[in-house]
């Protein structure tokens, strides 16, 4: 597991006392050797509240200030210093503190991008993957139905990614994406002349979305295929007799019949996207730039790595409530469909 250079070290919003304690968080560390603080501190960040952000701006003249961020003119060790951010994320104003290494000129901006990326992760990931999987699964199920009806073993080929453990699938993707031994970068170099670094903070999100989608589209495909093959053929034939064909047959007859499945598929995949653990943990730990810390990973790290039982349990309860709410909603929708 490679330690990500940029990481969130406190979950929730720190109040003033906590903030000052967090500034000095590594002071008590045993077997701390001299001048190793930069490696410890650089890249760490946490969220603070608006009054704390403004307070820090007021007490000392900042070293520099650019739009949404300012740095304190007080160096921790060498070139590591405090940078404060005021960012707008998903429509809310939020404030962050981070230690950046000013020796690298881009680091405050990188830090900012990583924070924004990380804070947007869980819901966005769940929604995006659920939408992609539902759309792709529906398309493949309807388009490939004539083939699969005759040869069901084709389904076995498409189901393969679901049968393999998600954690092992994660390891496989590590191999596939590896810049030296991975075939994907190899072929991209071969044919396009360049290959992006898939797990960098910038592209980690996209990479994970693609992987999650590829791995779970078989599930929605199976779901839609089963629903599609239970549509009585009489209905289709009746529509054909009336002159409804092709695209119209699909949008007016078949799609409405698949609508309940569509809702269910989206719901299930959203919950799953919310709780992704195995895959991401194996692939990049808690992530390039923390950009992939979903709630599940957070709970694991808080409890087993940081021994912070209270926070881990609080996050567990949150996740429980979120999952329960979605389940309840699906149950209600399904009931209403059944009644009408």
């Amino acid at each position: 597991m490679t330690l990500s250079p940029i990481r969130k070290i406190y979950f929730g919003v720190a109040d003033r006392r906590q903030m000052f304690r967090l500034f000095d968080r590594h002071a008590q560390r045993p077997n701390r050797w001299q001048n190793d603080d930069d490696a410890l501190f650089a890249g760490e960040w946490f969220e603070i509240a608006r009054p704390e952000h403004h307070y820090m701006l007021d007490i000392l003249p900042p070293l520099w200030m650019r739009g949404e961020m300012f740095a304190l003119g007080e160096f921790l060790t060498g070139s590591i210093t405090s940078v404060f951010y005021a960012l707008r994320i998903n429509g809310a104003d939020r404030y962050f503190h981070a230690y950046c290494d000013l020796a690298r000129s881009g680091s405050p901006v990188e830090m900012r991008d990583a924070i924004v990326e990380r804070e947007r992760f869980s819901t966005r990931f769940g929604l995006l993957t659920a939408a992609l999987e539902t759309g792709l699964g529906l398309f493949l199920a309807v388009f490939l139905a004539p083939l699969i009806q005759r040869r069901f073993w084709l389904m076995a080929v498409l189901m393969m990614p679901m049968i393999i453990a998600p954690s092992l699938m994660g390891l496989m993707y590590r191999l596939v994406l590896h810049e030296f031994v991975g075939p994907l970068p190899y072929y991209l170099y071969e044919y396009l002349g360049a290959s992006p670094s898939f797990l960098s903070p910038k592209s980690a999100f996209t990479t994970l979305v693609v992987i999650e989608t590829l791995q779970w589209t078989p599930f929605t495909l199976l779901l839609f295929y089963t629903a599609y093959s239970t549509i009585p053929n009489d209905i289709r034939e009746a529509a054909r007799v009336d002159g409804t064909r092709g695209w119209r047959l699909f949008t007016h007859i078949e799609l409405p019949a698949l609508l309940p499945t569509l809702v269910v598929a989206f719901g299930i995949r959203f919950i799953d996207g919310f709780r992704v653990f195995d895959n991401i943990y194996v692939l990049i730990g808690s992530g390039a730039g923390g950009s992939s810390t979903s709630l599940s990973i957070y709970i694991y790290t808080a409890f087993f790595k940081a021994a912070d039982i209270g926070k881990a349990l609080a996050a567990s309860v949150l996740l429980f409530i979120a999952a329960f709410a979605v389940l309840w909603l699906i149950a209600r929708l399904a009931k209403r469909r059944a009644r009408t």
């Binding site: 083939l147 679901m162 191999l175 599930f219 699909f250």
Partner: protein, 275 residues
């Protein structure tokens, strides 16, 4: 829609290739020589070797694939058989007498959609007190809990499909419920039992989170053990060996899946939709 079949085949091949790309790549890498891996990352190896598999199956003081496989096997067997034993009587009661159909069944089934990590911390503490941490039985018990909801759904459906007249006739003849269950229901739902067992075994084998949390040395399952091979050796990852260990670790569920894909497809949906 009036699309030529060739277009459908093209879409199928592209989709199958994209979805299975990591599987193919891993399989190929497992048979490559170290020199080949270092110089040629393409999907066509220049030479084929079994050396990687030999390394995987060689026991060292840090890595022991046999132990991991044995842990996975025993824990998965507990995790697949115990839910069947527990939920069979309940399934009969729900299907025939409607006991717990209103509250218990939806409650248990919805449990399946809950993120498992929620239960991780309380379980860890409980196991610590009970001394079940890092034991095969402890891991097996948890896997049984994970499998219980789906086993219940599948068995309730199976019992409900048996015509009521059959056990009513037996009741008329004065047969006791226990005997009806063992001599009448059990033989009739044998296919459902097989499906439940296979799917439960696969789910248990593939579980990662609890294996990672609840075991450290003695009871490490193969999904977790496989990731040890990635960090082994000191001088970076030996990709050939790593690929071989993935192939070994995923072979049992894949083989089961290839033989029983019909049943497995059905039970995957049962667990998802009936929730």
């Amino acid at each position: 829609m009036n699309v030529p079949n060739i277009a459908r085949w093209v879409v199928f091949v592209v989709a199958a290739f994209a979805m299975n790309f990591p599987v193919i790549a891993t399989l190929v890498t497992a048979f490559k020589t170290p020199a080949d891996i270092a110089s040629n990352a393409s999907l066509i190896p220049t030479a084929v070797t079994f050396e990687n598999f030999k390394t995987v199956f060689t026991v060292s003081d840090r890595l022991n694939i046999w132990a991991y496989l044995w842990n996975s096997l025993s824990a998965s067997l507990i995790g697949a058989i115990l839910p069947i034993l527990l939920s069979l009587p309940l399934a009969y009661a729900i299907a025939r007498r409607d006991y717990g159909r209103a509250v218990l069944l939806p409650l248990v089934v919805n449990l399946r959609a809950m993120p498992l990590i929620i239960f991780a911390i309380p379980l860890y503490m409980m196991y610590q007190t009970l001394g079940l941490l890092d034991t095969r039985i402890g891991l097996g018990l948890i896997l049984a809990v994970v499998n219980l909801p789906l086993a219940l759904v599948l068995l309730v459906n199976a019992v409900a499909e048996i015509p009521r007249e059959i056990d009513e006739a037996a009741l008329m003849d004065g047969t006791r419920t226990k005997r009806i269950l063992s001599h009448l229901v059990l033989p009739l739902i044998r296919p459902a039992l097989a499906t439940t067992f296979v799917f439960g075994f696969m789910t248990a084998w593939n579980e990662f989170l609890f294996g990672l949390m609840l075991t450290t040395r003695a009871a490490v399952p193969v999904t977790v053990g496989a990731s040890f091979f990635f960090s082994a050796g000191g001088g970076g990852v030996q990709w050939g060996v790593a690929a071989a260990v993935i192939v070994v670790a995923s072979a049992p569920p894949v083989l089961l899946g290839l033989f029983m894909y019909r049943q497995i497809g059905r039970s995957m949906l049962a667990g998802a939709v009936k929730g």
